[in-house]
Symmetry: C2
DNA sequence: ATATGATTTGTTATGTTATAACATTCACTA
DNA sequence: TAGTGAATGTTATAACATAACAAATCATAT
């Protein structure tokens, strides 16, 4: 499992905070964080890493939910819509967002050695891609910013 | 088809230049731009848009090549390795690169309205993602930078 | 309280994307 | 011209994702 990250912060409290934020957000927006949706978010927060849709589906099955693919994809898409889950396009997998702040675009650093994924944020509207897009009159609705490579810890162990 | 781009430049000469560049590159590196590989690159250059692997496979079938999936994927991966084709991760599709310059990272602006894809370049090592990665000691081997949205022409037609 | 409309969930089936594994052919060169 | 490594052919299957429709649940306005 991902010991490195766990050692860097209090994973439990971090997880709880995000879950509460999700509940508050849904309440405020009159959206429903139903049992399936909460279970999916919880699973992603627990793992603290990217999971494939079918891994999530297996988790749902174990937890007693219906385990047909649409169940997982619906929950994932709901959570993505509200910004608490992101898809890692290069891995076809999904990861919880620990700072669901709409004014920032997520940036992912994917370590090919330890499979750890670090989420960074860049200031929307100030980054050079947004600027580049502005220059050509392109209106961005979604940004995918992913870097694959080797993280510091793994570089040190080479 | 993609009239907008065709009107912006001499598509034919552009296509030929890239194909020649690919041939020169392979010759220099002692790599083989075999018939299948050339056919795939040619198809992508002709279309001047992103194609799915199975569309390419169908093109190969029509051209008389073997049309099992591995044939297309192998050719695509070869062309990606040498930098003449990129994968658009958000679309699971592949597009020819018109400025295969290793010191630049490709950036794609994907218009959801007209399906046009514009490739931009950013200076590797100077962009803020590389800088962000450097700060955390992350060594990037591959960058995926894709923006979905609406292009200028389509915005004007709303 | 209850009809009604909207949202969510269940379920079946299928579509789409990609790779594993191994056999065969080809091109080079020793 | 035999041996080697690269490329291709081929079969099968894995992995990812959605369409379509039925059933249940929920919200709320009368």
């Amino acid at each position: 499992m991902n010991l490195k990250k766990n050692s860097l912060h209090d994973h439990n409290s971090c997880r709880q905070k995000v879950m509460e934020a999700a509940k508050a957000y849904c309440e405020q927006k009159r959206l429903k964080l139903t049992p399936v949706r909460e279970a999916v978010l919880n699973m992603l927060l627990n793992e603290h890493q990217a999971l494939g849709a079918y891994e999530i589906l297996e988790g749902l099955r174990v937890a007693g939910f219906s385990a047909q693919p649409p169940v997982a994809y619906r929950a994932l898409n709901f959570l993505r819509d509200i910004g608490f889950v992101h898809k890692i396009e290069q891995l076809n997998s999904y990861i919880a967002c620990y700072h669901p702040d709409m004014s920032h675009s997520p940036v992912f650093l994917i370590c090919q050695s330890c499979n750890d994924i670090t989420e960074k944020s860049i200031d929307r509207h100030k980054d050079e891609f947004s600027i580049m897009a502005d220059e050509t009159g392109f209106q961005i609705t979604n940004l995918v910013l992913e870097a694959k490579g080797t993280c510091q810890a793994c570089l040190a162990n080479l």
